[in-house]
């Protein structure tokens, strides 16, 4: 039984030049306690996917044009805002890329952790305080009781991301969505935060959907990987399958430019060209203009995801013939 089932999800945005699909026919599932990595270049639709699951996109301009998000047997895309609020926190919670701006500057961190718990559970003020201290302790904030009354501006980026994690886990969610949780942090802090997430997964047993454009982060954390390109899922496999036998030319390109987590300098982008804007996507395979294996047939239709190996799917017309033996 899957914890989360996303089926055929298409999210559109109203823009000045009409409606465009930011993501299209995105399908995937997450099992309990599993870590699913979603990887892709900036602009490929990872955040839109996560925010659609959370119901956090402003509507309008956003609109779920098709598909469903099944969580705990219910379709979240059909839920009222009130119902959605009871899911956010105890069901699914989320941390973001920018720890510097994701906390409210005018409230103490203790207040912000405590109000999260208070929104979902009836607890006395002193119990709330205890729980908040306990959570801050668990995410590695030293002398948490004393720091409860500190304000976000008194903390470093890494510490703020720890506070965000404490807040996100305060109500024991079944799924944590981490959207580029380390992208804005120093390399050494990045590794610490990833380690913390892994430890907390073992302690709390929640599933994690980790979003990144960095294959190094995927290698560190994910059990299974979803690769996105121009709003579509183009490959999905267990992490070993992605790294040992990537079947989509785009994934192979990504692996060639994997920046190391310990070295600070990302290497040159191995895939020439840029990701097309949603309104300027080419016909057929979206990757064709940048693909060294492209053939005329590639632009005739959009390749669909095909099960090529027992747990490995990819969306490329030539995947089978190009696959390493």
């Amino acid at each position: 039984m899957n914890l989360l089932d996303v089926r055929g999800l298409t999210t559109a945005f109203m823009t000045g030049s009409g409606e465009v699909n930011a993501i299209e026919e995105v399908s995937f599932s997450i099992r309990e306690g599993e870590i699913l990595g979603i990887v892709g270049e900036s602009g490929s639709g990872k955040s839109v996917t996560a925010l659609t699951v959370m119901g956090l996109l402003p509507q309008p301009p956003a609109r779920v044009a098709a598909g469903e998000v099944i969580f705990g047997g219910q379709n979240l895309t059909r839920m009222s805002d009130r119902q959605m609020r009871s899911i956010r926190g105890p069901g699914i919670s989320m941390i973001f890329q920018e720890p510097m701006t994701s906390l409210n500057p005018v409230f103490s961190i203790g207040d912000q952790v405590m109000e999260t718990i208070a929104a979902h559970e009836r607890l006395s003020q002193s119990d709330l305080r205890k729980r908040a201290i306990d959570m801050l302790d668990k995410v590695g904030i030293p002398s948490a009781a004393r720091r409860l009354d500190d304000y976000p501006h008194q903390m470093s980026g890494g510490q703020r991301q720890r506070v965000m994690i404490a807040m996100a886990l305060a109500c024991n969610p079944k799924l944590l969505i981490a959207d580029e949780p380390t992208t804005a942090l120093d390399v050494t802090i990045q590794a610490q935060i990833l380690d913390l997430l892994m430890d907390l997964r073992d302690e709390f047993g929640m599933a994690i959907m980790i979003i990144t454009h960095n294959m190094g982060v995927i290698a560190e954390t994910a059990d299974r990987v979803l690769v996105m390109y121009a709003g579509r899922v183009i490959e999905e496999a267990p992490v070993a399958g992605i790294f040992d036998r990537p079947l989509h030319p785009y994934t192979r390109g990504l692996l060639e430019c994997v920046p190391s987590l310990v070295e600070d300098k990302p290497r040159l982008v191995a895939i020439p060209g840029t990701l097309p804007e949603p309104a300027r996507r080419p016909p057929g395979c979206r990757f064709a203009p940048r693909c060294v294996h492209a053939q005329p047939a590639c632009t005739a239709a959009i390749p669909s995801l095909e099960l090529l190996e027992p747990t490995h799917t990819a969306a490329c017309f030539r995947a089978r013939e190009l696959a390493p033996a």
Binding site: I87, R88, M94, L103, N104, P105, V106, E115, Y151, C171
Partner: protein
Amino acid sequence: MIGVAFRRLLSAIPVLFIVSLISFGLMRLIPGDPAAAIAGVSATPAEIERLRRDLGLDQPVWMQLIDYYQGLARGDLGKSLLLGKGVFAATMERLPVTLGLSAYAMVFTLLIGVVSGIIAALRQNSWADQAAMMFAMIGISVPNFFLGLLMIILFAVHLGWLPSGGYVAFREDPMGWLASMTMPAFSLAMLQAGLLARITRSSMLEVLRQDYIRTARAKGLPQGKVVLKHALSNAMIPIVTVVGIIVSLLLSGAVVTEALFSLPGMGQLLTQAVLSRDYPMVQGGLLLVTTFLVLVNISVDVLYAVLDPRVRYE
């Protein structure tokens, strides 16, 4: 925070000095003779001359200035030439009227301005937003005396609901005060309410875009908490900075409003004093009003530090 207040208090001293100097100089630059004005049209030149000597106006200007500052150093604002009583006492009689009017207008300003600004921001580009902003535009562009006149015609003359003017002291008859002050306060408030509605709207729109609002929603907080706690507390910071300006606008607007509704406030007192060249009254009255405004602005700075921990911990 106490440090902030103390520094600002110190920096207020030169401001008050300059204001007192300007009001002293301006009064003596405008033509007209206080002695003649006070003695009346039927007075003989000899009588006027005697009055001038009694009032100390025969002295050279620099002597008068030194006298003035010596008085100020003793905490003495002098005596009104026209009323024959102390400037401070005369001010204290009239100031409650103006402060009451301004405070009541401030309540209207905050209620109308902040509430309509929030609603407009939450329903950006909806009919409610457009209606609120049109209302704000009208408030800003219609002169307050004109609005006051319209209200008098409608509510006092045609409907007879409210008195068209006159003052009832709050302590004697609170309901009567409310009745006599509602139209003046409302017509005085509209300009500031319109300004505040626009500032609140743009400040809220800016804040609602911030990452921490998304975080608040991601935590499953109810909409009321997201808007009134997380958004408004941040949006209030730029709003508070204009409160000092709004109080100044209210006090200067009150002069016209008091004249229109025949309210015996500071506006009337100072207008009369200027017309009759009542030098000490104008100088002292302006100094007291300026001191009040300076204190308001210092309170605003302190409030700013209360609202924003980043300022508080500097």
